[in-house]
C-alpha cells in the first residue's frame, strides 16, 4: 500500500522509499532512555521517593529498540547517519554503547544537574539539542517504561513546530512526507504528515536486530560525546513513590467446574455484571 502522497517507488525489501539522490544524506536522531528491565522487581527505597537500584539490570527502553531499528532501516535505504541522544547520568553510557553496537554512528549524552526532570524540562533540553543538530527525522519510543508518561515525542514536535506520528505501528517515508498507522480504540488510523517529524514507535513497527560481536567491537571506536546542560525547573514535583495499592485478598473459589456456581454468585451480587 503506497499512499498517493508519497510519489516515489516503494522498495519491497526495506518497506521504504529510496531518496532522490544517491546517497542523499539524511540526518536521523533517536532519543533513547536507560530504564530498569521490564521484568525487574521494583522496590521503593527508604526515602519513599526513589527505587532501590542495587542489583537491578538496566536496559535500552523496549520501545526505543523499535526507534533505533527504524532509524537504522531508514539509513540503510536512504543513506545518512544515525545519532542516538539521551538525557541522563554517566550510567546511561552503557545503553548508548549498546545502540552504537546495533549500528548507530554516534552517541550523545546530555548530563544534567539535580534530580529527576519532568516531561517539560526533559523535552525542552532534547528539543534545544535537536534544533542544534537539525535532523530531518527524530525517532523515539512511545513510552518510557519507568515513568510511563508518553509525553516526550509529541511535546518535542509541538515545541519545534514539527509534525508528529505517535504510537507508530507502521511507517513509510517519502521524499518530503511520510505516512503511518497508529492503534486507536477499536481500530487504527492512518496518518500523514510533513518533514521534519518526530515519530514515536510502538511494538509491531519492525523486528529489532540484535547486536553482534563485530558491532560490539566497532562500537568501542565510535564517537560518544558527553555534554552538560542546565534544565529549567520542573513543574511536577515528586511527593512520594509507593508500592501499588494492595489488591483485595484473593479467594480461590474451588477446583474445576464445581466452582462455577460460587463464581456466578459473586458476578451477580458483588461484581454486579449479571
Amino acid at each position: 500500500m503506497i499512499p498517493a502522497i508519497l510519489s516515489r517507488p516503494f522498495s519491497e525489501k526495506t518497506g521504504l522509499i529510496p531518496g532522490t539522490k544517491k546517497g542523499a544524506d539524511m540526518e536521523i536522531l533517536v532519543l533513547v532512555k536507560h530504564v530498569p528491565a521490564s521484568d525487574a522487581a521494583i522496590k521503593v527505597a527508604g526515602d519513599g521517593r526513589t527505587i532501590e537500584t542495587a542489583g537491578l539490570s538496566f536496559v535500552l527502553n523496549p520501545y526505543d529498540e523499535y526507534a533505533v531499528e527504524e532509524a537504522l532501516k531508514t539509513k540503510e535505504a536512504k543513506g545518512g547517519s544515525v545519532t542516538v541522544l539521551t538525557v541522563g547520568g554517566p550510567e546511561t553510557v552503557k545503553t548508548l554503547r549498546h545502540c552504537l553496537a546495533l549500528g548507530a554512528d554516534k552517541a550523545i549524552r546530555i548530563g544534567v544537574e539535580g534530580g529527576e526532570l519532568d516531561g517539560l524540562a526533559t523535552s525542552n533540553i532534547l528539543a534545544d539539542k535537536i534544533k542544534e543538530l537539525n535532523p530531518e527525522l527524530v525517532f523515539c519510543g512511545k513510552q518510557a517504561i519507568d515513568n510511563d508518561d508518553s509525553q516526550i515525542g509529541p511535546r518535542i514536535a509541538a515545541r519545534l513546530g514539527w509534525a508528529c506520528l505517535s504510537d507508530a505501528s507502521t511507517f513509510v517515508l517519502g521524499d518530503a512526507a511520510w505516512s503511518g498507522e497508529r492503534d486507536i480504540e477499536g481500530g487504527k488510523e492512518s496518518v500523514e504528515g510533513s518533514l521534519p517529524a518526530v515519530i514515536t514507535c510502538d511494538k509491531g513497527l519492525n523486528e529489532p536486530r540484535y547486536a553482534n560481536m563485530k558491532g560490539i567491537m566497532m562500537a568501542k571506536k565510535k564517537p560518544l560525546e558527553e555534554v552538560e546542560a542546565s534544565p529549567m525547573a520542573s513543574k511536577v514535583e515528586m511527593v512520594k513513590l509507593a508500592p501499588p495499592p494492595p489488591r483485595p485478598e484473593p479467594t480461590i473459589l474451588g477446583e474445576g467446574p464445581d466452582a462455577i456456581p460460587a463464581l456466578i454468585e459473586k458476578l451477580k451480587n458483588e461484581v454486579k455484571v449479571l
Binding site: 480504540e185 487504527k188 512520594k240 513513590l241 480461590i252 474445576g256 456466578i264
Partner: protein
C-alpha cells in the same frame, strides 16, 4: 480560589467518547471542592449539536472549534485549537482522558502552553491549594504521587477511573478560531477493526486468553465467554505469548507492550500473570482467573480464582452465565 477547569471532549464521527465525560466529571468534582468553574473544549466538524450533552455534565461554557478540516483528528491542528481554547477560557487546569487521542494531544498542548503535565493519572485530589495526582509507574509496580505547580497545568486521566456523573451546566457556546490548512500532520482515514465490536479499552468486561488455551482453535471459548455477557458488553484480550505465536493480532494484546485496560471485570483464562501482563490490567476493579496451576502468579492479583482446566471450566461457565442472564 476560583479556578477554571477545562475538560477536552473527545468525539469521533460525532459521538462523544465516554472517557472524556469522565475527564469532565473529574473537572466538575475538583471545581466543586475548590470553587471555580468548569469549561469544556470541543473540536470537530459540525459538532455543535453535542453541546447539550456536554452541558449535562456540568460545563458552563463550551469552547468550540469547528471546521470541515477538523472532521478527522490532526494532532497539529487540534493541539493549536485546544491551546487557544485554554488561553481564551483562562484555564488553569486542562484535563483529557488518556485515550489514543488524548495522549497524543495533551503533551503537545502542554508544550504549546509551556505547562507541566501528569499523564495517565488514576487519582487526583486537592490538598489545600495544591493539586495532587497519583499515577502508576514501572508498569504498575509502583505508584508516584506528584504535586503540580505553575499554571496552566495539563493532566490525562486513565479511562474507567471514575463514573461520569450528570450535573446541569449552562453550556454557553464560545467560538474558538479553527486552525486553517495546511496542517503538519493529519489523520487520513480511520481503519476500524470492526464496528460492532466494543473497543478493548472501553469495555466494561474484558475476557483474555493465554497460552493455557493450548490451540488457536480453542479461542472460540474466549470469544464465547465474552459474548455470553451480552452484545457489546465484553471485549476479548490476549497475552503476549499468544500474540507472538500468531494466534491473535497485536491490537488485542494486554500488558506493558500492549493495551492498558481498567474494566469493571477482567477474566484471565490460562494466563500465568507475568509482570508485563499485570502491567496492562492490574487496575481492573475485579479480576477473575482460571488456571490449572494453583501457584500461578495471576492468582495473587485475582479477587476470585478457579483452579482448573480452562477447556473444561469455560464451556460450563458460558452456559451458567447465559442461564443467569436469562433468569
Amino acid at each position: 480560589m476560583s479556578k477554571i477547569w477545562l475538560a477536552f471532549i473527545e468525539q469521533r464521527e460525532g459521538k462523544i467518547k465516554k472517557a472524556s465525560l469522565e475527564a469532565l466529571t473529574l473537572a466538575k468534582n475538583l471545581a466543586t471542592q475548590a470553587g471555580g468553574t468548569v469549561h469544556a473544549a470541543l473540536i470537530g466538524d459540525s459538532v455543535q449539536g453535542l453541546s447539550s450533552e456536554i452541558a449535562g455534565y456540568g460545563a458552563e461554557k463550551i469552547f468550540l472549534a469547528e471546521s470541515p478540516d477538523l472532521a478527522l483528528y490532526s494532532g497539529d491542528a487540534y493541539s493549536k485549537a485546544l491551546a487557544q481554547a485554554a488561553k481564551d477560557s483562562g484555564a488553569e487546569v486542562v484535563i483529557a482522558s488518556h485515550t489514543a487521542m488524548g495522549k497524543d494531544l495533551l503533551p503537545r498542548v502542554a508544550s504549546l502552553l509551556e505547562a507541566g503535565m501528569v499523564s495517565d493519572a488514576t487519582q487526583v485530589e486537592l490538598q489545600g491549594e495544591d493539586l495532587i495526582a497519583t499515577k502508576p509507574v514501572y508498569a504498575g509496580k509502583a505508584y508516584k504521587t506528584l504535586k503540580v505547580s505553575g499554571q496552566p497545568f495539563c493532566l490525562t486521566l486513565r479511562p474507567n477511573t471514575l463514573p461520569p456523573q450528570e450535573s446541569a451546566g449552562e453550556g454557553t457556546i464560545v467560538t474558538v478560531e479553527a486552525p486553517a490548512k495546511p496542517f503538519l500532520d493529519w489523520v487520513k482515514e480511520i481503519l476500524a477493526a470492526s464496528t460492532d465490536k466494543t473497543p478493548l479499552q472501553e469495555a466494561a468486561i474484558v475476557v483474555s486468553g493465554g497460552r493455557g488455551l493450548k490451540d488457536p482453535e480453542n479461542w472460540k471459548l474466549v470469544e464465547g465467554l465474552a459474548e455470553a455477557f451480552g452484545p457489546g458488553v465484553a471485549a476479548v484480550g490476549a497475552s503476549r505469548a499468544v500474540v507472538d505465536a500468531g494466534w491473535r493480532p497485536h491490537s488485542e494484546q494486554v500488558g506493558q507492550t500492549g493495551k492498558v485496560v481498567s474494566p469493571t471485570l477482567y477474566i484471565a483464562l490460562g494466563i500465568s500473570g507475568a509482570i508485563q501482563h499485570l502491567a496492562g490490567m492490574s487496575t481492573s476493579k475485579y479480576i477473575v482467573a482460571i488456571n490449572k496451576d494453583p501457584d500461578a502468579p495471576i492468582f495473587k492479583v485475582a479477587n476470585y480464582g478457579i483452579v482448573g482446566d480452562v477447556l473444561e471450566v469455560v464451556p460450563s461457565l458460558i452456559e451458567a452465565i447465559k442461564a443467569a442472564r436469562e433468569a
